[in-house]
């Protein structure tokens, strides 16, 4: 049987293959990606995503709609004549919000709650930023998935919650209000948290007290947003925050995200308007220039550049051969940073002051409207580096006067000016109060020639999620809190 020996020899590879099979084949763990992470690498991504979502295309869109900017070409030019479709802004809906800040915040909350909640501080920050992200989503798109969203495989086609329920909550449907989400976050910040953020907290450097200021200020912002639709609730929330007396009171407390100056780390507003192939799609709006110059506002050269020596903006919707783009006024360093660092101003001291001024005037919450209004102007002008003497003169020259509506218009105009670079907040205010009054763009087109008051659900979501109406509400359909 010599043949059998040979046979066995030839079978050796077979034996090697089989005998060691379990180990031989146990090689399917990816070396390319981690399957678990720690909260300190999650937090920077959540914060950056929130800032990026605010400052990228949503800002380009909103800043053109509110006529801070003029759309000279490409997408912004279409925005400027009110043409926005469901093919637009999916990168924002998906990449920056639901698959960006929202899911990242959700995962960070889960990480913070894991291990007996030994990183509750991260959960707290996560809830505040998650609420911020959902507010952006619902303010732009109206009714959106909220209570059923971010559940991954457990719900691959989340249903839509009403904007009213998102802001106010709905016990029957088990929907937590954005207010309660923030309150829960604030409670987490008060809870013991052996693991705490430090330098990984790009916004506040690990200062949890500042996060508490931000969380409370966010409650003010939400209350302000719904104040015309739900004045009672708004008043209650604002009083709650004022009573607690914990909120942003100084520019140093602003919830700012500061990008870097190297490419791939820069503020998208800088990348888009200075570096990119599409940099000549945007210029300053001459209408904004008019508003500022009408008030002799010293902030204009801080906000926008004068490359040709003079300001050069264009009338919204203008269709003409434009002078060389090297002479256009663009965002200045106040907005985008000298080298692209920004910051993105997500919640600010001036914003808080203007909110309180408005609610003191309209809702009768504590505080003197004129004082709060002046506080807002001073905060903004200080940020812009305006000398104190000039600020004083400006505040004096622009004191609140006239009817309630006239005074409200002054407050909203100052907020409109101060928030250059954060088109989303201005778009919310403009839709909510119709102040300042904006004139229609030239060549207005779109659905019916009126400015966009919401975004259309994106084609991707409508395609993948049968719970969405197709085509769904158009850009001329007001959201719930936008009552007129």
């Amino acid at each position: 049987m010599t043949i059998n020996i040979k046979k066995i020899y030839l079978l050796t590879p077979l034996l090697l293959g089989m005998g060691a099979c379990s180990k031989f084949l146990d090689i399917n763990v990816t070396p390319n990606n981690p399957t678990a992470i720690t909260p300190n690498v999650s937090l920077p991504a959540v914060e950056a995503a929130a800032a990026f979502a605010n400052a990228n295309e949503l800002n380009r869109f909103a800043s053109v709609v509110v006529q801070h900017l003029y759309g000279a070409g490409g997408g912004p030019a279409a925005t400027d004549i009110y043409v926005t479709t469901g093919e637009d802004l999916n990168n924002q809906w998906q990449g920056e919000l639901y698959n960006g800040v929202l899911i990242d915040a959700q995962k960070m909350i889960e990480l913070g709650d894991a291990n007996n909640g030994n990183a509750k501080a991260y959960s707290g920050i996560g809830k505040i930023l998650k609420a911020y992200g959902f507010a952006v989503a619902t303010d732009c798109w109206g009714d959106v998935p909220y209570s059923q969203a971010l559940k991954g495989e457990a719900n691959t086609q989340p249903g839509i919650d009403k904007q009213e329920d998102i802001y106010k909550g709905n016990q029957a449907q088990n929907i937590q209000s954005l207010f309660d989400l923030v309150r829960e976050g604030l409670a987490d910040l008060d809870a013991p948290s052996p693991v705490k953020p430090g330098t990984d907290d790009i916004i506040y450097g690990g200062d949890l007290n500042k996060w508490k200021l931000a969380g409370n200020s966010m409650l003010l912002k939400f209350a302000n947003t719904i104040s015309r639709k739900e004045p009672e609730l708004a008043r209650t929330v604002i009083n709650e925050v004022l009573t607690r007396n914990v909120y942003i009171k100084s520019n140093a407390d602003d919830m700012n995200f500061r990008f870097g100056t190297a490419i791939n780390s820069q503020d998208p507003r800088y990348t888009y308007t200075i570096l990119s192939l599409f940099r000549d799609d945007l210029a300053m709006s001459s209408r904004f220039q008019g508003v500022m110059q009408g008030l002799s506002d010293p902030r204009l050269p801080v906000f926008f550049t004068r490359p040709g020596g003079n300001f050069l903006g264009f009338d919204n919707g203008l269709r003409a051969t434009l002078p060389s783009s090297t002479t256009w006024s663009r965002y200045n360093a106040y907005v985008i940073g000298a080298g692209g660092e920004g910051p993105v101003r997500m919640l600010t001291n001036f914003q808080r002051a203007f909110i309180l001024a408005e609610s003191a005037l309209i809702l009768g919450t504590p505080g003197v409207p004129q004082t709060l209004y002046a506080e807002g102007i001073r905060a903004s002008m200080t940020l812009a580096g305006i000398p104190v003497a000039q600020i004083d003169a400006y505040v004096t020259a622009n004191a609140l006067t006239g009817t309630t509506q006239e005074r409200l218009a002054q407050i909203m105009t100052q907020k409109y000016i101060a928030f250059v670079g954060n088109g989303l907040e201005v778009w919310n205010d403009v839709r909510r109060t119709n102040l300042p009054r904006l004139q229609l763009s030239q060549n207005a087109a779109g659905i019916d020639g009126t400015p966009q008051v919401r975004l259309q659900y994106t084609a991707t979501e409508r395609t993948r999620n049968p719970k969405f109406p197709n085509p769904g509400p158009q850009t001329n359909a007001r959201v719930w809190w936008d009552i007129d």
């Binding site: 043949i3 293959g17 998935p145």
Partner: protein
């Protein structure tokens, strides 16, 4: 351990098989039916054994065989003949030329040589001579139009650009649908490594480009799973078995073959432009406009001022696009040296191909060296091996919408003198009519990708006939390459204004070990029943690594080194390792050479599936029956008839690492503005990670392809007419797929087993020799393919899902229930319908159904509806017709083919139409136009209705209104008729060569892509910017095709 005992048990069964009878000595001569001359090198094999010999230079042979055996005579280009020895001592045989498709020895799965008549499934053989000297350095392109059931589409005419091949349709939602490629038994990697986004990148090669077509002896296509089941999972999309020249059967002579060819290449298929109107909009000159809606050259300004402030004549530059391209060239030289006899042979091959593309700065240079040999030791052990080294160098330039040369060539105003104006300034920045657009010349000079592949592949085979009827073989094969790429985007480039240098290194390696035990008998239990049993084991390992270093934000112009960068955040590494262990068996039975049954099975154990569920088995069965032999039907008319049928199922494993959800380094944004972690901030570099958009699954199962096939082979008039026909029905089930999920779930897709995909098709090859008189011969070969692919289901609640790989400005290559694979989904112009009373745009009268809905204010189309099928690339049919006329040493081959139906989604097409440069846009430009469609109206009684659109638009609004890049307007009919290939060859008569050292001299001229006619498209629709892969039918501003014409010479001595 149980499996080993099972294997041993099978082996011991083999030893019990009956022993063969006594040998007799026979001799004879093999001659050609054409001229009665002796045929040297004819392969003679004792059927059912490995025993055999070849004929000598006069066609004579001598052999000692069992008295009752049958001999199979086979020779490339001639029909195989089987003869029973029946105790004769002389067996003379006449072989018939030109009936090769009917009956011959072919190489099947695992290198098993089989008589074609015994196969119950479809294969198609292509002789090396049909691929050689065809003005085409890419093997797959050289196959175009020559095969039935096979779809081959090149990416473009760019040198080395990849070519997609699918056999019998797409069978996997997500996996590779490219067939398995086997070169000399070596599983040959045919991947495309894409460095860049496929929407934007240059066009890297599929790695089959590393094979030199001049070195191919034969190529066999195993079309269905039944044919390929022994190769396992990876051959579920079919297999292509390539045999290189080995020197086997050279009658102990050494032969040197030198082939050399030179071709010129010209750009072909540029759209026809108008030359009456220049740069601008609304009939006004605008100096930075990409449109040609400006004033007419007649009646317009005579000169204009450009953006640089210079005065230029206002005139047409009719060739401003065409002249961008240069004449390319292909120089190919190959030397083959081969020799040997039936026991020993060797082959050396050295080849070089140097191609200069039509786009500036593109080239492809391939150098092949191959050494191989085979010997039979005195103890009966046969050893063979080959080693090949290939170096392929590819220089490419990027394509795609926006910041590429080809993305801008479709946007050049007719009045811009592209070749005459400077393209670069003193600071090495682009100069153009619009400062925010990059000059195409600048792009091809300053955004370039260079790559070099160094590849080694080889095999080592040891085998021994342990008994006359029992052979044991072990084969080790390896294939490994590095692909080192450098992608340069100079400072000022469109997509990377600050510049970047990307150094990309790929490494792939595949090792296979196969043990194959073969047992044969001529008499299994009863006379006339032959049996053949194969047992095999395969161990496979595949390794892949990629390291990328991106040095971005450059400082020193012209310094093309990663060190010039200051930001490295996009650098990274990725690697995969997968293993598979397979066991396979095949039992073949033949009865009196007219009835055959083959049963095969394979079990695979894969590392990529969940460990508790990683083994899967799949079987196949095939039957073949030859009634003409069984019933002695041999008549003057019907000379041969074979019917065949097979059923097979092949399992396929997953890609590595799909089981877990993972975290990735975070990045946000797109090509317009983006950030990438780690962020470089004032506080330092900060890391950031987030959950990846894909949800993993621990419950993955293998996917399966189940196929049934019936076929027919007919030979008429002494096989002068041959028909090979097949009908197949293939179902792919429990597909491993990344199903798109709603973004609001927090994720983009999840990996799971879903759905069903079905392919049904009919294919045939008809061959014939209509004329054969006085040395003149006319051969015709017609092939025809019609495949119907249908996505039967995806998963509950999901009607459509994006194919992984790319979506762009609102369009997504997708699977869509009820549609063929790969339809392009996007926003469609709404149409009137009369089926759903509650739906939008309902027309109860039905008279307007199907018409576009027009916006009553603008006269344009109403807002689009998302998620609609825009473009369907599935062809009605494809066919190729080859005519060969030969007379004495002269042969003329003309190959024409047609692709009927299907659509292409073309950015370029939408571009040149909407920007007013296409020829039709210049016709009657001053006339108003009306878009097709109807306007919704409210009738007097309050009901809603429609009236025909009567809103007049300017030519600019009309042509623009038809739609731009991401719209339905970018869809065109892709039907194309083509004169694919013409080759004229002349072999010098032997009488002339008598005293020279040459055995053979042939010279020829050939041309490729000489003419095409595409009635529905503005250019050549046979392009695909995504290259080889699952996304097809897209023309996103890629490079055009070329027409090649050249001359060649072949010498043997």
């Amino acid at each position: 351990m149980r499996k080993i005992f099972f294997g041993s048990w099978l082996l011991s069964l083999l030893f019990c098989l009956p022993v063969l009878a006594q040998d007799v000595s026979i001799s004879g001569r093999v001659t050609s039916s054409d001229d009665g001359s002796g045929l040297p090198g004819v392969n003679i094999q004792v059927t059912g054994t490995t025993k055999g010999t070849t004929t000598d230079v006069d066609g004579r042979y001598r052999l000692s065989v069992p008295a009752n055996s049958r001999l199979a005579f086979s020779f490339i280009g001639f029909g195989t003949k089987e003869v029973s020895v029946n105790n004769q001592s002389t067996v003379n045989v006449v072989l018939t030329a030109g009936s090769q498709s009917l009956d011959e020895i072919v190489v099947t799965a695992q290198g098993i040589e089989r008589d074609k008549r015994s196969l119950g499934y479809s294969t198609q053989e292509i002789d090396g001579s049909q691929l050689s000297q065809r003005s085409e350095p890419n093997l797959l392109n050289a196959l175009q139009g020559k095969t039935a059931g096979v779809n081959i589409t090149g990416a473009s005419g760019a040198p080395g650009a990849s070519t997609n091949i699918n056999i019998r349709g797409i069978t996997s939602f997500n996996g590779s649908n490219q067939p398995l490629i086997i070169v000399d038994g070596i599983i040959f990697n045919n991947d495309v490594n894409n460095t860049q986004n496929t929407l934007f990148g240059s066009q890297p090669s599929n790695r089959l480009a590393d094979v030199n077509p001049e070195n191919i002896e034969s190529l066999n296509i195993l079309k269905g799973p039944a044919a390929a089941v022994l190769y396992g999972s990876r051959a579920s999309a079919g297999a292509i078995i390539i045999t290189t020249k080995s020197g086997r059967n050279n009658n102990n002579k050494t032969e040197v073959t030198v082939t050399s060819s030179y071709n010129v290449q010209d750009v072909y298929g540029i759209p026809k432009f108008q030359n009456d109107f220049g740069q601008g909009s609304q009939n006004l000159f605008v100096n930075n406009s990409t449109n040609s809606w400006g004033p007419g050259f007649v009646g317009g300004p005579t000169s204009v001022t450009n953006i640089q402030g210079q005065v230029r004549p206002y005139q047409a530059y009719p060739n401003n696009v065409r002249d961008f391209y240069r004449q390319g060239s292909i120089l190919q030289n190959t030397v083959n040296l081969a020799g040997g006899d039936v026991n020993r042979n060797f082959a050396l091959s050295v080849g070089n191909t140097t191609q200069q593309g039509v786009s500036p700065n593109t080239k492809f240079v391939r150098t092949n060296v191959q050494v191989g040999g085979e010997t039979r030791l005195n103890n009966g052990i046969k050893i063979s091996g080959t080693v090949s080294y290939v170096q392929s160098v590819q220089d490419g330039v990027v394509g795609g919408n926006g910041g590429s040369a080809f993305g801008q060539l479709t946007r050049i105003p007719r009045s811009y003198d592209l070749t005459g104006e400077p393209f670069v300034d003193a600071n090495l920045r682009s100069v153009y009519f619009n400062p925010t657009i990059i000059n195409p010349y600048w792009s091809v000079n300053y955004t370039r990708q260079k790559g070099q592949v160094d590849r080694v592949f080889g095999n080592f085979i040891v085998s021994k006939d342990i008994k006359p009827w029992l052979n044991v073989l072990y084969r080790v094969t390896g294939d490994t390459y590095t692909d080192r790429r450098k992608f340069t985007e100079a400072i000022g480039s469109g997509r990377t204004p600050l510049g970047a240098i990307t150094q990309d290194n790929y490494f792939t390696n595949e090792l296979n070990g196969d043990l194959i035990i073969t047992a044969k008998t001529n008499k299994l239990f009863l006379e006339g029943l032959t049996g053949n049993l194969i047992l095999g084991n395969n161990i496979n390992q595949r390794k892949f690594q990629n390291q990328t270093v991106v040095g971005a934000s450059l400082n020193i112009p012209g310094y093309e080194n990663v060190n010039n960068g200051t930001v490295f955040t996009n650098s990274g590494e990725s690697s995969t390792l997968r293993r598979l262990v397979g066991y396979y068996a095949q039992a073949s039975l033949g009865y009196n050479n007219y009835l055959f049954l083959e049963l095969s099975g394979r079990a695979d154990q894969s590392s990529t599936l969940p460990q508790n569920n990683n083994t899967y088995f799949y079987p196949s069965a095939a039957v073949s029956f030859v009634p003409t032999d069984a019933f002695k039907l041999d008549s003057k008319i019907l000379s041969y008839l074979k019917v065949r049928g097979s059923v097979a199922r092949v399992g396929r494993d997953a890609d590595p690492y799909l089981l877990n959800s993972v975290y990735t380094q975070s990045s946000f944004g797109n090509n317009v503005a983006s950030i990438q972690f780690p962020l470089a901030l004032a506080a330092g570099n900060i890391p950031g990670f987030g959950i990846s958009g894909r949800i993993g699954s621990q419950n993955l199962k293998p996917e399966f392809v189940t196929s049934a096939e019936v076929g027919l082979n007919v030979g008429l008039f002494d096989n002068r007419i041959g028909l090979d026909m097949a009908y197949f029905d293939t179902r792919s089930t429990q597909q491993i797929f990344d199903v798109a999920v709603a973004p609001t779930s927090g994720f983009d897709n999840r990996t799971t087993n879903v759905g069903e995909l079905r392919n049904r098709g009919i294919e045939f090859t008809l061959t014939g020799t209509p004329i054969r008189v006085n040395g003149f011969k006319w051969d015709v070969a017609l092939n025809f393919t019609r495949i119907r692919n249908n996505v039967v289901s995806i998963i509950e609640g999901v009607e459509q899902s994006t194919i992984v790989g790319g979506s762009f400005i609102g369009i997504s290559p997708s699977i869509f229930v009820g549609q063929p694979y790969g339809v392009i989904v996007g926003g469609a112009n709404p149409r009137v319908q009369s089926t759903d009373a509650n739906g939008a745009n309902y027309d109860p009268t039905g008279q307007f159904a199907g018409q576009y809905v027009i916006n009553p204010i603008t006269g344009g189309f109403a807002p689009t509806l998302a998620g609609k099928v825009l473009s369907n690339l599935q062809q009605n049919y494809t066919a190729g017709l080859s005519n060969t006329f030969s007379y004495k040493g002269l042969a003329l081959t003309i190959l024409a083919d047609v692709r009927q139906g299907g659509q292409i989604f073309s950015f370029g097409g939408a571009d040149v139409r909407s920007n007013g440069s296409l020829f039709v846009t210049g016709i009657d430009r001053d006339q108003p136009r009306i878009l097709p469609g109807v306007i919704p109206v409210t009738n007097a009684d309050g009901t809603r209705g429609y009236r025909p659109n009567n809103i007049q638009l300017s030519a600019q609004s009309y042509w623009g209104g038809l739609g731009g890049l991401g719209s339905e307007g970018a869809v065109f009919d892709a039907t194309v008729y083509r004169l694919r290939e013409v080759a004229l060859n002349y072999s010098l008569p032997k009488t002339l060569l008598g005293k020279t050292p040459f055995g053979n001299i042939s010279v020829g001229v050939s041309g490729r892509n000489l003419l095409f006619y595409a009635p529905g498209f503005i250019a050549d629709p046979e392009v695909n910017t995504q290259g080889a892969g699952n996304i097809q039918g897209l023309d996103l501003n890629g490079q055009p095709n070329t027409r090649n014409i050249g001359a060649n010479i072949r010498l043997t001595f």
